[in-house]
């Protein structure tokens, strides 16, 4: 399991980041936070909202 440093060509692509679409992810978190009873899991911080 794992790779050597010279084997990171594909892993280093932006598209291979675990959350590659920053604002897509941000907007989704905000929308579903306001429309569903459960949220979180990806990290801590990010601020609150009176929407739920």
């Amino acid at each position: 399991m794992g790779v050597e440093p010279w084997e990171r060509d594909l892993l280093a692509k932006d598209s291979m980041r675990l959350a590659p679409d920053y604002f897509d992810n941000f907007y989704d978190e905000h929308i579903y936070f306001s429309k569903e009873a459960t949220s979180g899991g990806q990290g801590v911080g990010g601020g609150g909202c009176g929407c739920n």
């Binding site: 399991m1 932006d14 980041r17 675990l18 959350a19 990806q42 990290g43 990010g46």
Partner: protein, 431 residues
């Protein structure tokens, strides 16, 4: 498409060795990574619409130090459910200010159309290296809206191991939020009253949120990386929604019934203000993976959530990035399902849940549909196009449906499906 920006580092969950690799490669880069976006969100039946422009800026400061900044403006208009359910008779409600009324016609889900707000949120993260394999990230968040103020701090420790194939994360966040609702804080479980007469216990209240996360990111092979997080959170204080009410119904007719509530207030309407517990313990396990095919990339995530309110949820999310040279198409599907909170009730039955004096016999109750059993399905498509070497324009459209479980609900009182469209445009570049 390989853009230079490394904005994903903003998220704790993306603090993988990939970003470390990227930041090392770009340590001499003095450009700002800029990401701008605009969201339009619109619900069916003239319910909530949101316009949300946002900008993110991040910059390497050298030697692994980094700063990330975010500004979001959120403008909301429309009508939102007040918690009461549809009835075969017209229903009259008092607005949150206590000054006027609004009416739901027979068969209509009651919506408070006085809902309107603008929220401004700012955030800043400062990443500091400890040594070659570890770093800390400190964060500040603040948001303000007409009736809500949120202030938060966070700190995350990130440790690389195993030739940077493994990254461990431990984070802690603390939030202090203040609610100052229009009209004040209603007395929980007391009747909604006619205009000009209110049941209020103060002008504002607070809640605190403490969140903790432990995570591990692991490179499996040249094409696959995974992440697993456990999160634990505590919410304490005023967790009730001051704008939500619960209908009291006659046990025989099922119609709104204020016959006992008038013993509390002579001008009582057949609704009481909801009450939620004043604490909540939240847990989640979150897994996600990215896998590179020959050209395309698959992203998958799953979250299992449980809390001491009796709510559990499962969330599945799948994206397929189809590469087309300088552009890509990315279909997206998300499926979410949750169980109801223990204290969720469709309504209160006179005689069983409310005694003859008008006292609610339950310690907590809410009929907020977001606390009921339901499922959310989202389908979307994104198109991204690289403009030059370091910028990208993207457009995303999604359709969301929420279907509520109406088993054991009297005909005509069902919670209708909620449909919404999500459109956002993004433009990222170096500056």
């Amino acid at each position: 498409m390989q853009l230079k920006n490394i904005k994903g580092k903003v998220s704790v969950a993306t603090c993988s060795l990939l970003q470390v690799t990227a930041s090392v490669a770009q340590a001499s880069d003095t450009d700002w990574d800029i990401d701008t976006a605009f969201l339009y969100y619109s619900e069916s039946d003239s319910r909530v619409s949101a316009f949300e422009p946002a900008v993110y800026a991040g910059k390497e400061l050298g030697d692994g130090e980094r700063i990330d900044l975010r500004l979001v403006i959120d403008s909301l208009t429309g009508a939102t459910p007040n918690g009461a359910h549809a009835s075969s008779v017209a229903q009259t409600f008092t607005t949150p200010s206590g000054n006027s009324t609004y009416v739901a016609q027979p068969g209509e889900t009651p919506l408070d159309d006085t809902f309107m707000d603008t929220r401004v949120a700012v955030g800043a993260d400062w990443t500091l290296p400890i040594n070659r394999l570890s770093r800390v990230k400190l964060g500040l968040n603040a948001s303000t809206e007409y009736d809500y103020l949120s202030l938060g701090v966070s700190g995350t420790y990130i440790q690389d191991l195993n030739n940077k194939n493994t990254t461990l994360t431990a984070g802690l966040a603390f939030n202090n939020d203040t609610y100052t609702p229009e009209g004040g804080i209603p007395i929980a479980l007391s009747p909604m009253r006619a205009p000009g007469d209110t049941n209020r216990e103060g002008s504002d209240d607070t809640k605190t949120l403490t969140d903790f996360i432990l995570g591990v990111t692991q490179v499996i092979n040249r094409k696959t990386i995974i992440e697993l997080n456990y999160s634990y959170g505590m919410s304490d204080g005023y967790l009730t929604d001051p704008f939500k009410i619960v209908t009291v119904v006659d046990p025989l007719t099922g119609l709104p019934d204020s016959s006992a509530l008038v013993n509390v207030n002579a001008d009582a309407l057949p609704y009481v203000y909801e009450k939620r517990p004043d604490s909540r313990q939240r847990n989640s396990l979150f897994f996600r993976a990215a896998h590179h095919l020959t050209q395309d990339v698959i992203h998958f995530s799953y979250r299992y959530f449980w809390d001491d309110w009796g709510i559990t949820s499962n969330t599945f999310d799948l994206k397929y990035r189809y590469e087309m040279g300088a552009s890509y198409l990315q279909p997206h599907v998300r499926y979410y399902m949750q169980d109801a909170a223990d204290y969720y009730r469709h309504n209160l039955v006179q005689g069983a849940d409310v005694d003859a004096s008008g006292t609610v016999l339950l310690a907590e109750v809410s009929s907020d549909s977001r606390l009921s059993k339901f499922a959310t399905t989202t389908l979307g498509l994104k198109y991204g196009y690289a403009i030059g070497k370091n910028s990208e324009l993207s457009v995303r459209g999604e359709f969301m449906n929420q279907a509520f479980d109406d088993a054991n609900v009297r005909a005509g009182e069902e919670t209708p499906d909620l449909d919404a469209i999500i459109l956002n445009v993004g433009y990222s570049f170096l500056w």
